[in-house]
Each structure stands twice: as structure tokens, then as C-alpha cells.
């Protein structure tokens, strides 16, 4: 009898616990509107977001209370599940290459133009170039709290030892490709001390490489544009990477690995620890990567500096960013917009900007010298960084994820094909021509054609 009572009590308790669902009401006790937000990030980024939100919640106490969820891994999977379960957040960070556009095409986001037009504090002109993403109908589906761009990182000591000329700072002075290869060769040294220019150079026994670059589209994309190519034709009908200019760009990059031997093959790349460490341990002299590398390099104490990317035809830097969007089924659009503004405010993200992980989103943070020195006068922004600011303002191009439809699916074919190109198994032309038919099947045109 006693056992029965106990069991029934336990069962009831479990039942109650399960039934007590966490669907928060829209307003909490103090009458403040509850806004849910999601973002991705490693622990450091998480701290920044949380700090911004804490400050925001304090400022708007009683009016708005933001519940921020930072998702460290599998963000897309988690968000998909939230959408499927009808538990969408009000404000969410969105990846332009994967989920953003499928959702936008279903009208799931609010057009942020309407907010920007009415907002007394913030207008479009305040934002630095490449500030967000547009849908087919010209709706602004997301605004970015940061920018990310690519530059050439290098170890100053290694340049001194090799007696090589330092990379230029400004895009107007950018090296052309041959100059770049020459310098890289001078900095690629085998175990016997011969550099790649010497006839005794042994490419099988390299001690240090002149240049390394990650194999994702963020890095090689820069050079497609620099050489005058594109991912997709102007009319959106044909695959752009099989066009001669794009093929040439990819082949030149692959030749760095397999012809000139100044860059490690993907195999060797995998063994080199992350970008910053390979510069630090003098395994690599120059590195093409995103500006976030400044954070690790600044912390490492390595004598490094940055220069502008070498050009193939014209100097160009791709600018990418991760946007925040507002779901259209939110009950509180105005409060959601306020939250979004808080998340993109450079003052609240100051630590991230200061330490090199992010670039600010407001234009005068690049153009006003007083403000610029606030965030660049530190070990995370070496002397060459002024060139990066110049590049963002004057030589930047948007990320292809914004205007190439079905970008993700296209990359599913391109990446494996490029695997073979980096490994030297096929030429860029052959590898890309092979996948051309498959890509054409998934091509869906461009978004920026009026």
C-alpha cells in the first residue's frame, strides 16, 4: 500500500514537471516585453553578445527583456529544429550561405528597410559598405553587426632574414601576381637552406613555406573577383567558374602549391597548426586569411604585420558578414528592431572590434580618424591595417552568398572538384568542366538582376 502511494506521488510529480512547458509568456512580471534572440559564437563571442544584451536589458529595464541564446555548434541544425517546432526566436543571426535565403524566400523575415527609414538614430548612410543582404524583391533581410575581410598576414622577422621586400599596405600599390610569386619563392626554404629561386631547391623537403591560404571559398573567392571573374554569369544563366578568368585565377592559386611549391598542399596544410601558430613557428611566412587572425597573432607576440592581398588583374577584397534578421512572426517588431540595433552597435561590441575579431559596421568608424585610432591603436592592428580600412571603403566587393542563388548547393560540387585541383590531380579547367553539367542543374540565377 505504501509503495503504491509513493509510486503515484512520483508519477504525478513527473507529469507536472513535463507539463510545465517553458513557453514564456510575452510579457514577464515587470511588464517588459520578452524578446528571444539567437546567435552563434565561440566562448569569446558569446561574452561580447551577452555583455551587449546585459547593458541593453539594464537600459531598457521594464520595457524590454532580451533572452539571448548563443549556440556554439550546429547553429543551422538547431535553428531548423526551432523553425520546425514553431519556436522561432524574434531576432536571429543568419548565415547567408545556408539558411537565410530559403527562409527569406518564404517571407519569414521582416524588411529592415522600413525600420531604417523611420529610425531617428540610424540610417543606411551610417553603415559601412556591404552592411547586409537583400532578397530578390529588394527587401533588406538582415543587417550585419560586423564585417570580415581578407588580407595578407606576414611574419616580419622571416622577411628580414630572407631579405625580401615587405608586402604593400595599400591596394593601389598591390603586388601583381608575378611579383607576389617571386617574393613567395624567396621565402620558401628547404631543409638545406635553398630557397625556391635556387636551382638546388628540393620541393620534397621544405622547411618553411612562403604562403599558405585556407581552401574555403572565402579565401579563393577574392582572386576570382580580382581576376575579373565571377561565380555566375552576369545574366545568371551560366556557371561562372568555368569561364577563362575564373579558371585562370584558380589555376594560379593551385600552381602556388604544385608548380612553384611555395604553398603547402592541403595535406601539409592540415598538419600545420592554425594560421597564427604557423606564422609564429616560422613554418609559413605569409598567410591569406580573414581579419580575425589579428586576434590570435596579436596575442601571440609574434612580430607580424598585414598587407593588402596581391592582385591578379585588379586589387579587390571580398567583404563578408553574418547578419541578424527579424522573424516576421514576431509579436514585437519594434522591440526586436531595438534589440537588433543593440547587437550591431559597435560600442557594445567594442572588445571584439578592439581585439581584431570583428570590423565595425558604422561608416564613421572607418572614416573618422579619432574613432579609427580608438580601435586600431593596439597590438591587434599593426601598422599595415590602414590599408585594410582603405580596401573596405574603396575596393570591396560583396560576398557571393548574397546574390548567387543556391550557393550552398553549387559549392557541394565545387569543393570536391577543387580538392583534386589543390592536390594537383587535375587542372582547374578539367575539374570544373567536369562538374559543369551538375552545377547547371542546380543553378537558379542571380538575385541582383532587376
Amino acid at each position: 500500500m505504501k509503495l503504491k502511494v509513493l509510486t503515484s506521488i512520483v508519477a504525478v510529480v513527473f507529469l507536472l514537471a513535463a507539463c510545465n512547458s517553458n513557453t514564456s509568456g510575452d510579457t514577464d512580471d515587470s511588464g517588459a516585453v520578452r524578446i528571444s534572440a539567437t546567435a552563434w559564437g565561440d566562448p569569446k563571442q558569446q561574452k561580447v553578445f551577452e555583455k551587449s544584451i546585459e547593458k541593453f536589458n539594464k537600459d531598457r529595464k521594464g520595457e524590454i527583456n532580451v533572452d539571448l541564446q548563443v549556440i556554439p555548434a550546429d547553429y543551422d541544425t538547431k535553428l531548423t529544429t526551432m523553425v520546425a517546432g514553431n519556436e522561432t526566436p524574434d531576432v536571429a543571426q543568419m548565415e547567408s550561405a545556408t539558411l537565410a535565403y530559403p527562409l527569406a524566400e518564404e517571407g519569414k523575415f521582416l524588411d529592415l528597410n522600413t525600420f531604417l527609414e523611420k529610425d531617428p538614430e540610424l540610417s543606411i548612410d551610417d553603415l559601412a559598405p556591404q552592411f547586409g543582404y537583400y532578397s530578390d524583391d529588394g527587401e533588406l533581410i538582415g543587417v550585419c553587426p560586423e564585417r570580415e575581410t581578407f588580407m595578407l598576414f606576414y611574419n616580419e622577422d622571416m622577411f628580414e632574414e630572407a631579405g625580401a621586400e615587405l608586402p604593400p599596405v595599400n591596394a593601389a600599390d598591390a603586388w601583381d601576381w608575378n611579383e607576389f610569386v617571386e617574393v613567395a619563392k624567396k621565402l620558401t626554404i628547404d631543409q638545406n637552406g635553398n630557397n625556391a629561386l635556387s636551382p638546388n631547391f628540393n620541393p620534397k623537403n621544405i622547411k618553411q613555406f612562403g604562403i599558405d591560404f585556407g581552401k574555403w571559398w572565402g579565401n579563393w573567392g577574392n582572386f576570382i573577383y580580382s581576376n575579373g571573374g565571377d561565380f555566375i554569369s552576369d545574366d545568371g544563366e551560366k556557371f561562372g567558374l568555368t569561364e577563362p578568368k575564373a579558371v585562370e585565377a584558380l589555376q594560379k592559386l593551385a600552381d602556388l602549391i604544385n608548380v612553384h611549391h611555395v604553398a603547402p598542399s592541403p595535406i601539409q596544410s592540415k598538419s600545420l597548426p592554425g594560421g597564427a601558430t604557423s606564422l609564429q613557428t616560422k613554418k609559413v611566412a605569409m598567410m591569406i586569411d580573414g581579419q580575425w587572425l589579428n586576434y590570435n597573432l596579436g596575442n601571440s607576440g609574434v612580430k607580424y604585420n598585414v598587407g593588402v592581398l596581391p592582385k591578379m588583374d585588379k586589387p579587390v577584397t571580398m567583404v563578408v558578414c553574418g547578419m541578424f534578421s527579424i522573424f516576421s512572426n514576431t509579436d514585437h517588431p519594434e522591440e526586436s528592431w531595438d534589440t537588433l540595433k543593440a547587437l550591431i552597435n559597435p560600442e557594445s561590441a567594442f572588445d571584439m572590434i578592439n581585439e581584431g575579431l570583428w570590423l565595425p559596421t558604422l561608416k564613421d568608424w572607418y572614416t573618422d580618424p579619432d574613432i579609427v585610432s580608438r580601435w586600431t591603436n593596439n597590438k591587434f592592428h599593426p601598422s599595415g591595417f590602414s590599408g585594410a580600412i582603405d580596401a573596405i571603403l574603396n575596393y570591396s566587393v560583396p560576398s557571393p552568398t548574397g546574390y548567387v542563388r543556391n550557393f550552398n548547393k553549387i559549392l557541394e560540387f565545387v569543393d570536391p572538384a577543387l580538392d583534386q585541383v589543390w592536390l594537383g590531380e587535375k587542372t582547374a579547367e578539367d575539374a570544373l568542366k567536369e562538374i559543369e553539367k551538375d552545377v547547371e542543374k542546380v543553378l537558379e540565377g542571380r538575385r541582383d538582376i532587376k
Binding site: D74, E106, I267, K270, N408, F413, D419, L423
Partner: protein
Amino acid sequence: MKAELTVKDPKPVKKRYVWKNTAQVNGLLFAMPAILGFLIFVFGPMIASLIYSLTDYSVFSDNTSFVGLNNYINMFSGEDPFFYKSISVTFYYVFLSVPLGIIFAFLLAILLNTDIKGKAIFRTIFYLPSIVPVVASAMIWLWLFNPDLGLINNMLTSVGLPTSLWLFSEGTVIPSIVIMGLWGVGGNMIIFLAGLNGIPDHYYEAIEVDGGNTLHKFWHITIPMMTPTIFFTTVMGFISGFQVFTEAYILTGGGPNNSSLFYVFYIWREAFSNSNMGYASALAWVLFIIIMFFTAFIFKSSKWVYYEGGKQ
């Protein structure tokens, strides 16, 4: 007159189900959590997935339409360029890893069943890798397999053997992942050890009396007596082998050039990166059918399993 032992039918009672006793009620109640759990979290979603596989459900789209067998037709007709590649990659992995794994585990179990000093310690050492989380072991193996700095290639060069590109070459990526998996045969080894200990000694004594040597013992006693265990590990090995995922997710991303595009990894990619839930559900059901087919096949052909209890 034959003695009849029939029981006359009792007076016909109205068909009414009577709870025999509270034990039956309690039994059912105690089983309810498991039953409900299965129905709600496994069976229900399976039915939902079957229905989704007949639609173009994409989570995000407000319009989900019934497309009948289109998903399945697309799969098999070659519309989907990755489907057959994924199947062949997964099959290659399964047919390489399952037999090798069982053979290794079996031999290890036999070795560790002999009377050697430190038997318990060795068993522990061999078992430990199987409880290391796959993610952690994947990171370690990434370093070991590194073609330039990795320990394996270094050891090979030091004895003058040719090296390999391991995870970074299309031809060697699956064998490399299989080798990684072999490190974790400890689990199966323990099962085989249990099986070996269940073989009565008097069989071995009988063979000794008949003048048999170790090989005879192995072939005529050990293996036949172990067939139920081998059967079990084979079935389980196939079931889990077809669902290999983590190695592709952590180590290779499906590459190089799709040569490690395991089936479940492909399903995950279609579902969450490409938002094709309907198609991914169809893929999942095809996998279910495949695994069911192989399991049924192994069961059907299990004449070779010898059950001492006598029943088949």
C-alpha cells in the same frame, strides 16, 4: 474404450475481459513508460518520416505538397548525383570494417583467453579505446594519420616502408577510417571472451583424448561453439556500420572528392544544410530498408549457427 481426457467446456460465459489480478495491471503499468517512449519517440516519428518522404517538406516552406514517390524516383534514377556515390562508399566501408572487426576481436579474445600473466590488465587496455568518445579519438587519429608529421608515417619511413596519404587521398580514406575503427574492437572482444568462457572444457578434453591438436580444437570446437556470438556481432556490426557518421562529420567532411560521403552524413547534409527534409526522410527510409534486408538475409542464412540448446 479409450480413456478420454477431455475437459468439458465450462458453462459459456459472456465475453468479458476480466483483470486476472493486480499483478497483471501492475505489470502493464510498469511497462508503460517503455511502451509509451517507444510509441511517442520512435514509432510516431518513423511514421511521420514516412509521410514526409512522400512530400517536399522543407521545414521553412509554408507550402508542403504531396509529391508521391518523386523523392524515391529521383534517388534511384540518377537525378541525385550523390546518392549512388554515397551508397557505394558506405557499402565499401561496411564490407571492409565489419568482417575485419570481427576477425580482430575474435583473435584478440582467443589470445586473451589463454593463461598469460597480466591477462586482466591487457583486457582492460584493449577495451579502453572502445569507450573513448569518437570525437576525441578522431582528433588523435587525425594527428597520427598526418602524412608529413604523423606518427604512423614516421614509423613507416624509419623502417623503410612506403608511406601513404591516409585520410587525404581518395583511395586510402576508407581504409584509414576502418583502421581507426579497429582500434575500438575491445567492445566486441569482451563479448567474444564471454562466449569463449561459455564453452565447456570437456569438449576440449574429448578432442585431446582423440588425439587432436590446437588447430583441431580451434576449428572443431571453438568456432562452432562461438557461432551464436559471431552471429550476434555480425548483425550488430552491420546495423551500426551502415550508420557510420561521426568520422565523416569530424575528419573528412565527406571528402576528398566525396570518397567518404557516408550515407548518414549525406542524409544530415540534405536535411540541415540544404533544408530538404522530405528528401532526407526518403533517404533515411531507404537506409532502413537496406539494413532490414541485410539483417533478414543474415538471419535467413544462419544455418551455420549452432545452438547448443538445440533450437534454431
